[in-house]
């Protein structure tokens, strides 16, 4: 789960890392009041859970309350990377001497936390890593020991006297603790600014919360920004189903992430267009009925592929759920089955008895028939 800057920065403050004074505003008037209250030159920043806000025109400076109000009015309502700007953060503008980059993230290569630091802050770190690879430091951390001040200091070694600094190392240690204490997938400060008066201040903050940890971080997750979802996707989330809406016309229901992706791949390979990703594997295998109801509410769907290959997910239970929904709703759509794995014998018997249908011997044949049906129904496929 992603977070807007204003929702991420409190984690830094709680860890003892300074951030600029600021206030969230939802209108020009609120931004004017915030700037007047701060009484200093400000920065007005669009609050969306996406990067590159500056390039999109979502960050402006203002020297007084009136200018802050105007900046806010220009930014509010903008579309940045698919997000409508609903609020701005009005912050005191700092006198910056230097900008650094600092982050802690989950690293699949070392299978542990990774601390990153660069003296080249304020820019896209991926670009810095390409253009100046020697200016980006990465250090895997042994999670059973954590990050201590000496290791943090070692990460800064060789970047010159300006960074031979216990205070910067302290920020790294605090950042690591905030990452650990909040189940972050990524916690990033870019830029970490050294002000003219020597203080270190986090001017921006990016937080990604591990989705698997939301259940034990409910208070934090409440301040996060869920992915934008269509009406059907929202319904699916309420049912705890993994559903992603796509722009094709062949409805897909399968068990397991790998098999569902593969069903989409083979549909595409055969010249068809999948209408969705919907998997009912794992603990969701008992939810075939609501899953099918959801699919049928997508008006673009011209036919359905039901592709089950049961392991944990029992195909007899899933097929029973599909049949229950089918009998209740009597949809006027062609449906194509491929059923293998745990419970397949019972599932095939059920299909024959209740729908008079025998599944295709292979997934490829079921999909070929579905692509032909979508074409016959005048689909984009």
């Amino acid at each position: 789960m992603n977070f807007e800057e204003h929702a991420a920065k409190p984690l830094l403050r709680a860890a003892g890392i300074a951030t600029p004074r600021g206030c969230l505003a939802r209108s020009g008037a609120e931004a004017r009041a915030a700037a007047a209250e701060l009484g200093v030159p400000v920065v007005v920043k669009a609050q969306v859970p996406a990067g590159k806000r500056g390039k999109a025109g979502g960050i402006r400076t203002a020297d007084g309350a009136a200018a802050a109000g105007e900046a806010a009015e220009a930014i509010l309502g903008m579309d940045i990377a698919g997000h409508r700007v609903e609020s701005v953060l009005v912050e005191e503008r700092a006198a910056i001497a230097a900008e650094y980059y600092a982050a802690v993230l989950n690293d699949p290569v070392s299978k542990g936390p990774l601390v990153m630091f660069s003296p080249e802050g304020g820019m896209d770190i991926e670009e810095v890593a390409v253009s100046k690879p020697g200016r980006v430091r990465r250090a895997p951390v042994d999670i059973s020991r954590g990050l201590d001040a000496d290791s943090a200091r070692a990460l800064l070694d060789g970047f010159g006297p300006e960074l031979d600094d216990a205070a910067v190392a302290e920020v790294l240690v605090a950042l690591y603790q905030a990452y650990r204490g909040n189940d972050a997938e990524l916690l990033e400060i870019n830029p970490l600014a050294r002000l003219d008066d020597g203080r270190l201040v986090a001017l921006d903050c990016k937080l990604v919360l591990d989705d698997s940890a939301i259940k034990r971080r409910e208070a934090l997750a409440g301040a996060g920004s869920p992915e934008p979802a269509t009406e059907l996707e929202t319904r699916a989330q309420a049912l705890d189903l993994k559903y992603i809406e796509l722009d094709g016309d062949i409805g897909v229901i399968a068990n397991g992430a790998g098999l569902t992706m593969t069903t989409m791949d083979v549909i595409t390979d055969q010249g068809g267009k999948p209408a969705n990703f919907l998997e009912i594997g794992g603990e969701s295998y008992t939810k075939a009925r609501p899953a099918l109801e959801l699919l049928l509410d997508n008006p673009r769907v011209k036919c359905l592929v039901v592709n089950f290959c049961g392991a944990f997910a029992r195909t007899d239970v899933m097929t029973g759920g599909v049949l229950d929904a089918w009998e209740a709703l009597s949809p006027d759509l062609p449906v194509f089955f491929s059923v293998h794995g745990t419970g397949a014998t019972e599932a095939r018997a059920m299909l024959l008895e209740r729908l008079g249908m025998t599944p295709y011997p292979t997934m490829d044949e079921a999909i070929a028939a579905a692509v032909a049906a979508a074409r016959a129904a005048g689909g984009a496929t």
Binding site: P108, K111, D183, T262, T268, G310, H340
Partner: protein, 289 residues
């Protein structure tokens, strides 16, 4: 990460609904389940085996070679570390949605104690005709049959389909190694391929990958030096970027984790990459002559 018949299996969470259901199936197939763990029901007998309060007590009481965890997400860290600190050499973690920092702690403990972990979010391991650990349909004779092909898969359902295709092509499996769909897992694609390369029962290897991460690219570096033939199928070529496709690890960010990158890396080391899983059986058949 291969489990053979006769190895002693401990089931953590044996008294739960899924733990019971799958323990009975494992036993019926021939898996040597020697005991279970359930802190609240220690001392009873369940599925015909003794139930212990902890893996540590089970190790003292009966010993085990592999522990399989039917444990809810937030309980996995404690249960896995219990098994690791008890001296358990191999763990199979089936649970999905384990917090990633918990996984990293488990893997650090495994490294410190010399244990190997499959998963989290794996469907398990199969040696056809001998045993299985986890929730794979090993007992379906049209899917799992003893043979000479080793299969590595991030996905249980897709791995099952590939095994079906192998059997339809007249082949069978030496071992199925489910490694799991999470972004950070114990046994990687490379680790599993290396285990199958070293396995004398295995003559050829199928890599069933998917978009996200860089494990297939990493495995390709190992495959470069292999004599056994390797074919692959990678799921997710038609998936949109920036979305988690069911598995937490199956996401393309920018050019990272893309289908094209994995296919390129595997083809560069001579791996035949199939467009559909139904091509796997014939391709392996041809490679084995």
């Amino acid at each position: 990460m291969i489990v053979r018949g006769g190895e002693r299996v401990l089931v953590q969470g044996i008294t739960g609904r899924q733990g019971t259901f799958w323990t009975e199936r494992m036993q019926a197939y021939g898996t040597r389940v020697v005991g279970g763990v359930s802190p609240k029901r220690a001392g009873i007998e369940h599925c015909g085996v003794p139930v212990f309060a902890s893996a540590r007590e089970a190790m003292g009481g009966i010993g085990f070679d592999v522990s399989v965890l039917f444990i809810p997400p937030l309980g996995v860290k404690a249960a896995a570390i219990d098994a690791i600190e008890a001296g358990g050499p191999r763990l199979v973690v089936l649970t999905e949605h384990v917090p990633v920092q918990d996984v990293m702690e488990v893997l650090a403990a495994a490294r410190a104690n010399g244990a190997a972990v499959a998963g989290p979010n794996t469907a398990g391991l199969v040696t056809p005709g001998e045993c299985f650990v986890g929730f794979m349909p090993a007992f379906e004779a049209d899917i799992f049959r003893p043979g000479r092909v080793g299969v590595v898969s991030r996905s249980g359902s897709l791995g099952t389909l590939v095994c079906l295709n192998l059997v339809q092509a007249g082949l069978g499996e030496s071992a199925f190694v489910g490694i799991g769909g999470d972004p950070i897992i114990g046994t990687t694609t490379r680790d599993a391929v290396a285990a199958l390369d070293a396995d004398e029962r295995t003559d050829a290897v199928v890599v069933v990958g998917e978009i996200g991460g860089a494990m297939e690219e990493d495995a390709a570096e190992y495959i470069r030096g292999m004599a056994k033939p390797v074919v692959a199928f990678i799921a997710g070529g038609a998936s949109p970027p920036g979305k988690k496709m069911g598995h937490a690890g199956a996401i393309v960010m920018g050019d990272k984790g893309s289908y094209a990158s994995k296919r390129r890396a595997l083809e560069a080391v001579g791996v035949e990459v199939l467009d559909t899983p139904s091509g796997v059986g014939p391709a392996i058949g041809a490679a084995l002559g």
